[in-house]
């Protein structure tokens, strides 16, 4: 009897304590306030790495994030087609207060029209809350800006890995060195002396 009363009391206390926790649970998401901008200009047909975008879970619950490109805020320029931006490295889940930097790539089709482009990077927190059939969602937006100008794609050389450039430099330097060596007229002669000849030479020296 006493055990049953104690258990009931304990459950009651647990319910009272747990209720406020559930009531104050929240969903939240944040994104860097600074715009995502391409350093330099883009050319039609080129692929460029954009600065990684900072996202953070500001809610109390674990949540996953998704990123889409949509023009929401006011700005000048053509609207960025969503297909031009590729998102990689999305974390499967962000804990409360956890942040991440999400890499973005800009893929400009060859048919892109030159000009200034503007849209928003919209980060959506997917830890939706069920509200009797309605989910309460959160998102946060920051500007996305870049400029497309006509011209050849120069990014290919500059995005080449540094070790490739170093290897090419070494080969060219060796080739230059060899050419200079040949033009100097100095020749290197390699001779092979047999053991018998060496002995004969030694004996002749002994006279």
């Amino acid at each position: 009897m006493h055990l049953r009363l104690g258990l009931t009391a304990a459950l009651g206390v647990l319910a009272v304590v747990a209720a406020p926790v559930a009531a104050y649970a929240s969903v939240g998401v944040g994104v860097q306030a600074g715009p995502v901008q391409l350093a330099g200009v883009a050319h039609p047909g080129g692929t460029y790495e954009l600065p990684a975008v900072y996202v953070v879970n500001t809610g109390t619950e674990p949540e996953s994030v998704a990123i889409r490109i949509e023009r929401i805020s006011r700005g000048t320029g053509r609207t960025v087609p969503g297909a031009w931006i590729q998102v990689s490295g999305l974390p499967s889940s962000l804990a409360h207060g956890q942040s991440a930097r999400i890499p973005l790539s800009l893929v400009v089709p060859a048919s892109a029209r030159p000009g200034q482009y503007f849209s928003d990077v919209v980060v959506t927190g997917s830890a939706a809350l069920v509200a009797g059939g309605a989910h309460l969602g959160v998102a946060a937006a920051t500007d996305l800006e870049f400029r497309v100008v006509p011209g050849v794609i120069s990014a290919g050389w500059f995005t080449m890995p540094s070790w490739v450039l170093l290897a090419v430099g070494v080969v060219l330097a060796f080739a230059l060195g060899v050419v200079l060596l040949i033009r100097s007229g100095i020749s290197i002669r390699v001779e092979r002396a047999t053991a018998g000849a060496a002995a004969g030479n030694g004996g002749g020296g002994g006279d």
């Binding site: 998401v29 939706a128 009797g132 060796f174 100095i186």
Partner: protein, 224 residues
């Protein structure tokens, strides 16, 4: 004699060039007699530069459902939406009760809101979000846009500021219920209590009795 000296010089230059590239692309090092450097470490703290929002609490429920046709046994019950064009609430318009708290936890931003289509649990036909003007969503098909048609539904959010009678959009737009001065600008820490009113379709072609939809709040750059 002159040719020989030139040849030797060229050879030495070639060897030095090749050798220096292999050794690390040039000679480095501090100049002789250089003075010792001194430095001081500085630290600086800045204000946060994150744009963020939170919505709480975690659990609210549609209730106070009204409307529908009793003669066809499709009238609303307390927690179930009826047809045609039943209404359900999260919170109360009068007297005001606004159980959803939207807080701008980042830098000053404009707070936008948008809705989505409603999806049945059986993955059948959706209800499209509609509003009175057909702006950012379908135009509601009944009563000159004031009531949803078949497979349409409308969401109005309300707060102490007022009620968005025209219905929220499917694309993010300024949440006029957020700012007291008719805009949606929120400074850091600014919050608003809100409620939701859902007006259901004239008729649903999908027979599912469980539906989900999403209402999303988004802080965006700008002044609302």
């Amino acid at each position: 004699m002159g040719i020989k000296v030139r040849s030797v010089s060229l050879a030495v230059a070639g060897v030095i060039l090749a050798g220096s590239v292999v050794a690390g692309c040039g000679l480095t090092g501090a100049p002789p007699n250089a003075g010792q450097s001194a430095s001081v470490n500085l630290s600086l703290t800045t204000v946060p530069t994150v744009r963020s929002v939170t919505v709480s609490p975690a659990s609210v429920t549609f209730g106070n459902c009204t409307g529908g046709l009793a003669s066809q046994n499709t009238h609303s019950t307390a927690g179930k939406l009826g047809f045609p064009n039943g209404h359900c609430l999260v919170g109360l318009v009068n007297p005001g009760f606004y159980p959803i708290t939207v807080t701008n936890t980042g830098i000053a931003s404009a707070i936008y809101v948008n809705g989505s289509s409603a999806n049945p649990f059986d993955d059948g036909n959706q209800w499209s979000l509609c509003n009175q003007d057909g702006d950012g969503a379908e135009k509601c098909k009944r009563d000159d846009g004031r009531l949803p048609g078949t497979d349409q539904y409308m969401v109005e959010n309300f707060s102490a500021v007022g009620e968005q009678k025209a219905g929220i959009r499917g694309t993010p737009s300024c949440d006029l219920e957020f700012g007291a001065s008719g805009n949606c600008l929120a400074v850091q820490g600014g919050s608003q209590g809100e409620g939701i009113e859902l007006i259901g379709p004239f008729f649903s072609t999908d027979t599912s009795t469980k539906w989900t939809m999403t209402i999303t709040w988004t802080p965006v750059p700008g002044n609302g």
